[in-house]
C-alpha cells in the first residue's frame, strides 16, 4: 500500500464508526414511549410488550436482564439511577428484589385499578408493588430414571437420592427466594440443618434453574428443584420428564413456594402517565391468561376463566405461608450461610 493511502484506511475506520452511530440514533418523532426494565425471560415478556404497543401505540423501550448475570443487572441499575431515574416501570419475575428496591426508596406507590381482585398477600399493603402471574417451586424428575418421584423436600436428603439431586446456586434467583422463604418460615436452625443434609447427600449445585433442569433432561441428575416455567418448557419439548408440587399432603404437608411476578412504578420516572397505563395492562386478567397460555404456563393469582388444562390454579396448590417482607430480611443471613457452607465441593 502506498504511504499516502494509509491515512484513508484510518479515516475509513472512523467514518464507519460515525456512520454506525448516526444509524443508531434514528428516532420516530412525536411517538409516545415508556421505559420498562424487566427480569422476566425475554421470550416470555416480549410478546406481552408487543401486545401493549399494538393496543396503545406507546412504544416500550425495554432493558432485559440475563440469566447468567443473576439479577446483578437491573436492580443495581435501578439503585444507581435513584437520583436520576431512567426507567418508568420495573417488571420483576420474583418478589424479594422488588422489596429491596422498596427499602432503598426507588419505588413510588401506585394503586392500580386492575389490581383490585389480586389476593392481599400478593401485593404490598402500601401499593408499592403488585403481584401477578406466579410460578411455583417444583420437583422436576426424569421419568426414565425415576420410578417413584419424591413427594417432599425432606425426601431429597435421604440415601436413595444421594448424588442424584440438582439445585441452582441458592445465592441467586428464585432458589435464593426459596432459601429466604425457608429461613423465615422454618427458622434459621431448621434451614441450616436441611441444607447440611442436602450437602451431605451430594446435591449437585449448578449455575441456574435452567441448567438444573437440563441436567435432569440429559439424565445427569435424576431430580431437581426448579420453577414451573422451566419445567413446562422441557415438558412442552417432549422430553421424558415430569414434575410434582412438593409437600402437598393436605394433612402434614407444608406446601410449596409460589412466587409471583411483581410490577412497580419507579419514583420520578420520565413517563409517569404511560407507566401507569403499562402497569394497568400488565395487571389485567388478559395478561395473566396470556402468560398461562405461554410456554411458561404461569399461574394466575385470581380466577381466570378458560385456563389451559395443565395450569394449576392458586386454589389447588398448597402454599408455604410466607411473608415476603419477612423473607426479604432473611436474604442476607441465609446468603452468608450458603456462601460458607453450601457451595460445590
Amino acid at each position: 500500500m502506498k504511504r499516502h493511502a494509509r491515512l484513508p484506511v484510518l479515516l475509513g475506520l472512523i467514518g464507519l464508526t460515525g456512520l454506525c452511530i448516526s444509524l443508531s440514533c434514528k428516532q420516530k418523532p412525536g411517538q409516545e414511549s415508556v421505559v420498562l426494565y424487566t427480569s422476566l425471560d425475554r421470550p416470555h415478556s416480549e410478546p406481552i410488550i408487543r401486545l401493549f404497543e399494538k393496543r396503545t401505540g406507546i412504544r416500550v423501550k425495554v432493558v432485559y436482564d440475563t440469566e447468567a448475570a443473576k439479577t446483578v443487572g437491573l436492580v443495581n441499575r435501578l439503585i444507581a439511577e435513584k437520583k436520576n431515574p431512567q426507567a418508568d416501570v420495573f417488571w420483576n419475575s420474583e418478589v424479594l428484589r422488588t422489596l429491596v428496591l422498596k427499602d432503598k426508596g426507588v419505588l413510588s406507590a401506585y394503586a392500580s385499578p386492575a389490581a383490585d381482585n389480586i389476593p392481599a398477600d400478593m401485593k404490598d399493603p402500601a401499593h408499592y408493588w403488585t403481584g401477578f402471574a406466579a410460578r411455583a417451586r417444583v420437583i422436576f424428575y426424569n421419568k426414565s430414571r425415576v420410578g417413584e418421584p419424591p413427594k417432599t423436600l425432606e425426601e431429597l436428603t435421604t440415601p436413595p437420592w444421594k448424588g442424584k439431586v440438582a439445585i441452582a446456586n441458592p445465592l441467586f434467583g428464585t432458589t435464593n427466594t426459596q432459601l429466604a422463604a425457608w429461613w423465615s418460615v422454618w427458622g434459621a436452625d431448621r434451614t441450616k440443618d436441611f441444607l447440611r443434609r442436602m450437602h451431605a447427600n451430594d446435591v449437585i449445585i449448578c449455575q441456574g434453574n435452567a441448567m438444573a433442569r437440563d441436567m435432569v433432561v440429559s439424565g445427569e441428575a435424576s431430580v431437581c428443584l426448579t420453577d414451573t416455567d422451566d419445567a413446562w418448557a422441557a415438558i412442552a419439548h417432549g422430553h421424558p420428564v415430569g414434575m410434582i408440587y412438593p409437600d402437598q399432603d393436605r394433612g402434614n404437608g407444608q406446601g410449596t413456594l409460589v412466587i409471583p411476578n411483581t410490577v412497580c412504578l419507579i419514583k420520578g420516572g420520565p413517563h409517569a402517565t404511560n407507566a401507569r397505563k403499562l402497569i394497568d395492562f400488565l395487571l389485567s386478567e388478559e395478561v395473566e391468561k396470556t402468560l398461562a397460555y405461554s410456554e411458561s404456563a404461569q399461574i394466575p393469582l385470581r380466577h381466570v376463566a378458560g385456563l389451559p388444562g395443565h395450569v394449576e390454579t392458586m386454589l389447588r396448590i398448597k402454599r408455604i405461608p410466607v411473608d415476603f417482607a419477612k423473607a426479604s430480611r432473611c436474604v442476607r443471613d441465609a446468603g452468608l450461610h450458603v456462601q460458607k457452607h453450601f457451595q460445590p465441593k
Binding site: M1, R6, V9, L10, L13, I14, L16, T17, C20, I21, L23, S24, V35, L36, D41, R42, P43, K61, V62, V63, Y64, D65, T66, E67, A68, A69, K70, T71, V72, V75, N76, R77, I79, A80, K83, N84, Q86, V100, K104, N169, L171, F172, I204, I205, Q207, G208, A210, M211, S218, G219, E220, A233, P270, V331, R332, G335, Q339, K340, Q343, P344
Partner: protein
Amino acid sequence: MCPGCGASRSETFPAQVISRIGKAALLLAVLFVGVLPVLYLLLANDELDTGLVSRLSWQNETFRLSWKTARLAMVTACVSSGIAWAVCAMLRASARPRFWLALYVLCFTVSPYIAAQGWIQILGVQGTFWKLLALTPRAGMLFGPSGLVFMMSLQMTPLALFIFASTYRPLDRESQDLQALTKLPAWKKLYVFHLRPGKAPLLFALVLVFWLAFWNYETPSILRQNTYALNLYAAFGSFYDDNQALGYLFHALIYAVPTLVLIVWMSPALAANIRSLPHARENTNSRLQKLARLFGLSLIPLCGLVLPVAGLIGDLAGMESLTTAIQTILQYSGDIKNTLVVASSASLIATMTCFALVYLGSIVNARAALALPALLLLIIPPLCTGIGAVHWFAENSAGAAGLERIVLVNALILLPILLLPASLAFPRNATARSDTRRLYHIGDLKQFALLARPVLLPRFLLLFGLGFLMAMKEVPASLLNYPPDGSTLALTIETMLHFDQPQLISALCLIQLLISLVIFSTITVTSHLCQR
C-alpha cells in the same frame, strides 16, 4: 558534565525534573482514569462502612477462596501462555500465519457458554466421547479444577497468542547466525536468544491471563466451581451490598504485590526493543515436522472453535428454511448494528488513547513505566467498573441513556488490556527525537508522521482488532449500562441462552463469528498491505 550529550549538569537537571514530573503526571492520569468508576463507587456511596470493608477483606474465608481461585488462575496463565508461545513459534514457521492467526482469533470470539456446553456434550455424563468408546463416564474430569483450567486455557490461549503475535519481531539475521554458531546447550540457547529478549510480552501475557481468569465468572459457574468472582457477583447481585463487594475487591489487592514484582522485573525488558521468537523456517522442511506443526497449530482451534461451532451448525440445520434464517437475522439487525457501533467505537477510542499515551510516554521517557498503571488496572474486574460507571452516569448526566455510555465503559475496560501491547509495539523513537530534528529540521509531529506512523499503523490496526473482539463479547459491564433498545449481540445471546431455542442461539452465535471473521480478515489484510 552529562556523559551522554556533553551538556552541563546545570542544563540537564531541570530537564530531568520536568521529565520526572511529566512521567509521574502521566502515570497518575492513566491510573486515575481507569480507577475512576471504582473511586466514584467508593467516595459517592452514602452507605460505605470502611470498617466493614476492611473486616470483610481480611476474613479467613475470603483468604481461602481467593487463594483457591488464584491457584487456578495461575495454572491457567502458565498453560495458556506456554501454549501460545509454542504456537507463535510454529506460526512464524508456517506458510499461512495469517490464516492460523484468524482461526485463533475466532476461538477467542466463541462465547464461554457455547464452548463449555459443547464440551459438556462431549465429556459430560451423557457425553458422546464415553458413548463412542463405550466407557464409564468420568464427568469429574470436566466438573473439577482440571476441567476449569482446560476450559479457561482454551479461551485465553488465543489472547496470549495475539499479544505475542502483535508485539514480537522476528530474530534478526545477525542473531540467527550467532545462535547457529554458539556452542551452548539447547535450553540455554532458548533462554538467551528467545526467552530473555522476549520476557516482557511473556510476563505481560501471564499477568493479563491471570487476572482475566481470576475474575472469570461464567466458566466456573457453568462448571460448578465456587470461585472468588462468584462471591463478588453474590455481593452485588444477591445482597446488593457495595461494602461486601468492595471488601472482595480490596482483598484482591494482595495479589497486586506479585504483579508489582513482575512489573519491576520486566521494566528493563520493556524499555528495550522486543524481538525474537524461534524462527525455524529453514529447519522445518521435513514432512514429519510439517505434520507435527500442523497438528500443534490445529489443536486449539479444533478444541475451542471447530467442535463448538460444529454443534452450532448442527443446531442450525434444524431451521425450517433459508427464509427463516434470514428473518431471524433481520429481527436482530438492531442488535447487530449496536454491536458494530459499540465494538468499533470503544476499540477505536481505547486504541487511540493507548497510542496517544504511549507517544506522550515516549516523549517523557515513560513508555515502559506505563506498564505499571496498565497492570494495576487489570486488578479491577469489569463488573466493578460497570457498577461504578452506572452510578457515575446516573448521577452526573442528564437525559436518557444512549449507546455512548456502553461505548465509554467498554473503552475504559479495554484501556489497560491494550495499553501494554501498545507500549510494546511502539518504536523507540524518543531517544532519536533530538537527532532527527537537528538533522532534518522537523518538529515532533512531522517526525512522528514520517518515522513512527508507518511502523505503528499495522500494529494499531491489530490492536484495534483485538479491542473490537473483546468489546463485542463483553457482557457484565455492558449489561449494567446498555440503553433501552440498545442491546448488543452478546447481551441478546445471554438473554436467550437458557431457552430451548438452539436454532436462534446458533444463528446469533454464527453471526457473531462471521462479524469477527470479516472484521479481523479486513484488518489483517490492511495491516499486511501497510507493512509492504
